[in-house]
Symmetry: C2
C-alpha cells in the first residue's frame, strides 16, 4: 500500500546503507574491532573545539533568548551576512545575505534547488562517477538524470561526451569537487572549458543552464590544492554547501545554498527557493546550528588526520598491486577492482570483514570506493586483508584483469 515509486526504492534500497547494516551484523559476530568498515562517509575526526565553545557561548548567553525560535525560512539574516562575508574574503566575490539560503545540509539544499528549477522531464547532467543520491533527488521532481560516462584516465569530466549530451531540455548540470567517490578536484582548466561549452550551448538553444556545485568537501583539499570557486567562471552558478565535513557535523543537517546574483531569474530563484525550503517541510535550517556555524567560519577539522589515512592506505594498496588515482580531496579512494565485477569483489572483501562499496553505485562499475574517514588503526589492521584479497584473486586467476593485461 506504499506508493509505487517507494516500492521500487525499497527494493533497490541504497547499497551504501545496506553495507552500514552489514557492518553492524559482522561487528556483532566478530567484534567491532575486527570489522573494517570503509563503506560510509561518516567523518571520524571530531568537530573542532570551536564548535563546543560556540554552543556553550550561545546557550549560556541570556540575551540569546529566541535562539530556538522560527525565523525567516531562508535563515537568520546576520548568519547569512557572516557567511557571505567569509566567502567574499576567501574568493574575492561580492555576495551579501541576499545570495544565501540556509538549508538542512547539502542534501536539503539540492532538493530545494531541484524543486525550484525542475519541470517534469527537464534534464540534469552529471559526470560519472557521481554521488548516487542525485538519482533520487532529480527523480523527486520528475527530472531526468543524464549521466556522462567516466573518464577513467584521471577522472576529470569527459567534456567531449558532455557537449553531445546537452539538449534544449538541459536545465541543470551538477558537479561535485572534491569528488565523491574519486577524491579528484576538477581543475581550473576543466571548469573553464566546461563553462565555455555551457555558454555556447545556452546561445545555441536560447536556454539557461544552471551549474549546481555540490561542495560538501570543499575544505577537505590536501597539499594546499585549490578548488576553483565556480561563480567566478560561469554566471548561472548555484553552490550547495554543507558544514557536515568541514566541521564534522553531518548529523546536525546544516548547510546553505548560494545563488549568484549574476544567475538568470535570480530574484525568482531566491523567492522560490525560500518557499521550497518551507513547503518541502524543512521550514528552516536548524536554528542553534545556524548560530554555531556563523561562529566557526574560520574553523576546520584537523585535515592531517585524513591526510595520514590517505597516505597509509594509498601507499599500502599501491604496494600490493592495486590501481588508483591519488585523491586530492575528500576522504574517499576509488580503486580499480582487480576483477571485472566490482560487486563480486566487494563480496570477497566482506569475507575478510572489509566493507567497501561497488563503483556501480556511483555509475562506474569495475571500481570500488573506500571511505578512509576511519581510525588509523582500522586501516593498519585492514591492510593485510586487502593484500590477501588481491593475492587470492591473482592466484585464482579467474576474471583477473591483471593476468589478462
Amino acid at each position: 500500500m506504499i506508493s509505487k515509486n517507494m516500492q521500487v526504492q525499497v527494493q533497490n534500497s541504497s547499497v551504501i546503507r545496506a553495507m552500514f547494516e552489514e557492518g553492524k551484523r559482522l561487528a556483532g559476530i566478530h567484534g567491532v574491532e575486527n570489522v573494517f568498515d570503509f563503506s560510509l562517509g561518516n567523518p571520524n575526526v571530531e568537530p573542532p573545539e570551536d564548535v563546543k565553545k560556540a554552543i556553550l557561548e550561545i546557550i549560556n548567553d541570556d540575551s540569546s533568548m529566541g535562539v530556538h525560535a522560527y525565523m525567516n525560512n531562508s535563515g537568520y539574516e546576520d548568519v547569512r551576512a557572516a557567511i557571505a562575508k567569509s566567502i567574499n574574503d576567501k574568493f574575492s566575490t561580492t555576495f551579501t545575505q541576499n545570495n544565501i539560503i540556509m538549508t538542512v545540509g547539502a542534501a536539503g539544499g539540492l532538493n530545494v534547488i531541484f524543486k525550484t528549477l525542475l519541470n517534469p522531464r527537464d534534464e540534469v547532467i552529471t559526470f560519472a562517477p557521481f554521488f548516487g543520491e542525485y538519482r533520487s533527488y532529480v527523480k523527486n521532481y520528475e527530472g531526468e538524470l543524464v549521466v556522462v560516462s567516466p573518464n577513467t584516465i584521471d577522472f576529470q569530466p569527459n567534456l567531449a561526451e558532455f557537449k553531445e549530451k546537452i539538449t534544449p531540455k538541459t536545465k541543470v548540470v551538477i558537479v561535485n569537487s572534491p569528488n565523491n567517490p574519486t577524491g579528484v578536484i576538477y581543475s581550473e582548466e576543466t571548469i573553464i572549458k566546461l563553462s565555455e561549452i555551457l555558454r555556447d550551448k545556452q546561445k545555441e538553444f536560447g536556454t539557461d543552464i544552471y551549474l549546481v556545485s555540490d561542495e560538501p568537501y570543499r575544505e577537505l583539499a590536501y597539499d594546499h590544492a585549490e578548488v576553483p570557486y565556480l561563480s567566478k567562471y560561469y554566471a548561472n552558478t548555484i553552490i550547495g554547501y554543507s558544514f557536515s565535513k568541514s566541521l564534522s557535523l553531518p548529523g546536525e543537517r546544516i548547510g546553505y545554498l548560494l545563488i549568484s546574483d549574476q544567475a538568470a531569474d535570480y530574484e525568482n530563484i531566491i523567492s522560490a527557493a525560500n518557499i521550497a525550503n518551507r513547503i518541502l517541510g524543512f521550514v528552516n535550517a536548524p536554528s542553534l546550528f545556524q548560530r554555531v556555524v556563523a561562529k566557526c567560519l574560520d574553523a576546520k577539522v584537523d585535515l592531517e588526520v585524513y591526510n595520514r589515512n590517505r597516505e597509509l592506505l594509498y601507499n599500502g594498496l599501491l604496494s600490493y598491486g592495486y590501481q588508483c588515482i591519488k585523491p586530492e580531496g575528500a576522504f574517499y579512494m576509488f580503486v580499480k577492482s582487480p576483477i571485472e565485477n566490482d560487486a563480486e569483489f566487494c563480496s570477497l572483501a566482506n569475507k575478510k570483514n572489509i566493507l567497501i562499496v561497488p563503483g556501480r553505485a556511483f555509475g562506474c562499475p569495475g571500481y570500488v570506493r573506500i571511505a578512509y574517514c576511519v581510525a588509523y588503526k582500522t586501516i593498519e589492521k585492514a591492510l593485510p586483508g586487502f593484500k590477501a584479497l588481491i593475492e587470492d584473486v591473482k592466484s585464482e586467476g579467474i576474471h583477473s584483469q591483471f593476468l589478462k593485461a
Copy 2:
C-alpha cells in the same frame, strides 16, 4: 526560468508569511512595541529549563563523542525507545523503537509520510478549517487534497459530508487536534464515529485508508482536556508529532512519526519512510536535538502563560461583541469576521497595527485567526484596537453581519 509549479507558488506566496514581513515593516515605522503581531504561530514562551540543562549535559559529557555524527536515517535507537516508552506510559500503548522515525519537525514528518504513501491523483481528505500547508505537502507528491467544508457550530469535523467524500481513491485522512486555527480538540465521540466511517468505507471499497494525525499541539490542552490517542481507535493510524510547541523549539526542527504496527503494510511503510527521510534530503532529524528531547520527555512549556493570554483575549473580544468558540488547546483563536470579507477585515486591522490572518488561508472564509502566543502586554495594548475595529464596522454598517442579524 524557475519551474511552473514554483511560479504559481511564488505568486500565491503564503499569506501567513507575508503578514510576518508586513509586521516587520510596520515595526520599522511605528516601533516594534506599537505593532501587534498575531499572525504567526511562533511560541513566545521560553523552552523549559530542562532543555538548556540537557544541551549542557550532552555537550559537556566527554563520552558523548559522535553526538553530531550520522546515525540510522530513522534516528538514534535509544532516543526512539525512550519516546516509545514515554508514549506507552501516557496512553497504555505497546510501541517500541521500531514504530518511531525521528523527523525534521512535523512538517518534515508529513512530507515523509506523503512521499511514502501517495501515488499521483491519490486523494487526501482534510477538514476545514485546516493548516494551509497541507495543500503544498499533498501537491508535492501529486496527490489531491479533498476539503470537507467547515462545521461552524462547534468546529468538530463535518462527518456527514466526510462520509460522502470518501472514494476508492482516498488514501489518507489528515486531522489536526488541538486544531490550528480553531483551538478545538476533536472529541472522543468524533474520533469514534470517524473511525467507524473509515472502517466501513475500507470494507466497502476494499482499500486501506490511513489516518494521519498531525499533533504539534497535543501537549497544549487547557483545563486538563483530554486529547484522544488515535491509534487506540483506528488500526491504520500514523501520528506526526513535533516538539516545536511542547518544548518551544520550532527553529530546531525536531519531531517524529509514529507508525502503528496495526497499520496495513506496516513493515513496508517503515522501510519506505526511512528511505523517504533520506532521499527527500532530510537524511536524519538533527542529532543533538534528538538527544535533547529524549532527556525532556516529561518537560513542557509553562502552559499557564498561554492560558492567561487565552482568557484575556477571549473575554475581551466577547465583551466587544465578537463571536468565537473558546479554544480548548493550541494558541489560536478563530474569530468570526464582523464583516463578510475576512481579507478586508484583516486589512482594516492592519491599519490599527494589528496583524491577523484571514480564515480563507485555512479554507474557511468569514473568519480570522488570532495567534495569541505573544506577550500578555501585547494583547492588553491591542485590545482597544480590536474594540475600535468592531465599533467602526458597526457604525459604518457596511457588510456588517451583526447589523444584518
